[in-house]
Symmetry: C2
Subunit: 361 residues, 2 copies
């Protein structure tokens, strides 16, 4: 795919010199070296991505990619397909969990209709990139055509370009789509070679019987689409979803634009996996926001030795875990920029002590 | 101790009815039941502590208890004793890591001089509760007298009363004191019966040789003070520190006042352990902010089956991990209060869709 080839060419591993400079700054600050543990690694990487001595994450945005899934007709979810569109309306109305957590993180929310089975009129906060009214049921063949895949990937890349133009300094991924844990587990099974039952979870909260059906559905899909499972993009085409492909495009685009991306849960991890299989240096640009309760994510984390920021058993999606993690990342950035060095503190402490003495006179 | 007896009498386990009401509210909101995992447990507990249907953590404060330790003369730290007072000046000047992370969390910082080896004049943000100019070296006998212990505990209780009067809705614990990981590990070893080497870490970053000395120092102290190790308060007196006792007093006081307390790392966990051994219901009121890199904390978490909010390998203290955890807790509270219910969303979604249709005319 031409679009991707030129983008992938743009992606380069981070320069060690920024890590060294960042470490030097952290070690000059008034606390024992290394005492902020993983927080320091996170901010070092942000420094290296942004190639700056003063990293900034003031402008944050979470992009919620929404789409319907043909496989939902196999009865793999607790919720009917209509819920996807209803939740999009709730995101636009500002009353869903992602809206609350995005406000808490100081991030704006953009909803991308990638392929919801509903026609949305123009409205603020909605980006219309509909590829189709949902994917095909991948139990009977590929979820999308190759041109649909390209549209979906391009939509994600375009979002990354808009983020760059808007000056967004930290991107979060979000998702909504009834059936999308089924697609995500299928993508992860296909790309990691793990047994389907190892990477399939309870989604919205299905019972053992539905879970067994979900596993069988994925196994059937992987068999049916076996000829597609040779490369990451074909896997997305065969058993992915429009929002998953969109997020993959966003991740690749952000890595090319040097924008750090916070990955949410299972769905975004499946998308990240596809992106990482295309170009391992993308790992430098992504932060796994949290360890999902959905077991399939673990295969992605393990494959790339990635450590999530949070571990709270979240399994909602929407971008909620990414937003919570943004708060931690922003804390790390503020520490980096604002904490005094030993040299500064020596001067400042004298001033504080002297002022206190004068006040006490 | 009279002070504590009446306080402990005031502490009661949380009422199940608030948990049930909180769960009902969470399950009415527009997302799959239980999909926010541990975040939901956290907010349910906040609801039950505050006994309200609209929990609030707008007013947050982190109390940084500072003191010097006689045992520092055994060479158990990388830093000289003077650093305790210097860091207090930095906290007051607003340029230390805790100041930055407290601002990020929207919390105010109060520094309590519990026993720093330095005389501080009056200054804003400093609470003067000095018990003495540092504890005695507990290798030769108890760290403090019983009246010093009572002063230190009372100071912590008074802080909790002031927090209540100030309308503080969420308290964080912080600490500063060269040598205080040694005291904390000693307290934890004494109260859990774990081998000293299992609960002793690298503190500010000591090497293997100093670590071995630190272990021997604690073992010597526990032998020397064996007759004191019969109850939690005597343990604090024998091998604790003024800031550890102060934090223990704060925790007991907050539980009595029904103020949720976020515990920081090793030092606060040692204090929490002493408090919990006095009254197990205190566990209902504390949130372990993070899993510390300091191994001694694990014994406390395991003993009470407690799950920390964050896991970032922090080992700084000051209250930094508590402040980061406050951000997550506040996110949980906002979700609880602000996310629409299914019934509300149905109405609101119609309104959004209709407005969009009209706009599209």
């Amino acid at each position: 795919m031409k679009l991707f080839e030129s983008l992938l060419d743009k992606i380069s591993p981070l320069s060690p010199s920024y890590f060294i400079a960042a470490r030097r700054r952290l070690e000059s600050q008034i606390r024992p070296a290394g005492s902020l543990g993983y927080l320091e690694e996170l901010v070092e990487r942000l420094v290296a991505i942004q190639e700056t001595s003063t990293p900034a994450v003031d402008k944050k945005s979470v992009y919620v990619f929404a789409a319907d899934h043909g496989v939902a007709e196999e009865g793999v979810s607790l919720y009917p397909r209509e819920v996807t569109a209803q939740m999009v309306y709730s995101f636009l109305g500002g009353s869903a969990t992602i809206n609350v957590l995005a406000r808490h993180a100081g991030a704006e929310v953009r909803v991308i209709d990638m392929g919801v089975d509903h026609t949305f009129s123009y409205q603020r906060g909605l980006v219309r990139k509909k590829v189709a009214y949902g994917t095909a049921n991948f139990c009977h063949g590929p979820a999308m055509t190759s041109s649909e895949l390209e549209l979906a990937l391009r939509a994600g890349v375009e979002i990354s370009e808009e983020a760059k133009a808007d000056g967004i300094q930290l991107v979060g991924t979000g998702d909504m789509g009834i059936g999308n844990t089924t697609s995500s587990s299928a993508v992860i099974a296909a790309l990691t070679g793990k047994p389907v039952s190892d990477v399939t979870g309870r989604g919205t909260g299905i019972d053992a019987e539905i879970w067994e059906r979900k596993v069988r559905v994925i196994e059937t899909a992987l068999e049916k689409n076996a000829s597609y499972l040779t490369d990451p993009l074909r896997v997305l085409q065969a058993v992915g979803g429009f929002e998953i492909a969109g997020i993959a495009g966003l991740i690749v685009g952000c890595a090319a634009e040097r924008i750090p991306v916070v990955i949410d849960g299972l769905i975004a991890s499946a998308a990240a996996l596809a992106a990482l299989e295309l170009h391992p240096s993308i790992l430098d640009y992504v932060f796994f926001g949290h360890r999902s309760y959905e077991r399939g994510q673990d295969a992605v984390l393990k494959r790339y030795g990635a450590r999530p920021v949070l571990d709270l058993d979240l399994r909602l999606g929407e971008g909620t875990g990414a937003c919570l993690a943004m708060g931690v990342l922003e804390g790390a950035v503020k520490v980096f920029n604002e904490v005094a060095t030993f040299a500064e503190a020596q001067v400042a402490n004298k001033r504080v002590a002297e002022a206190a003495l004068r006040a006490g006179d």
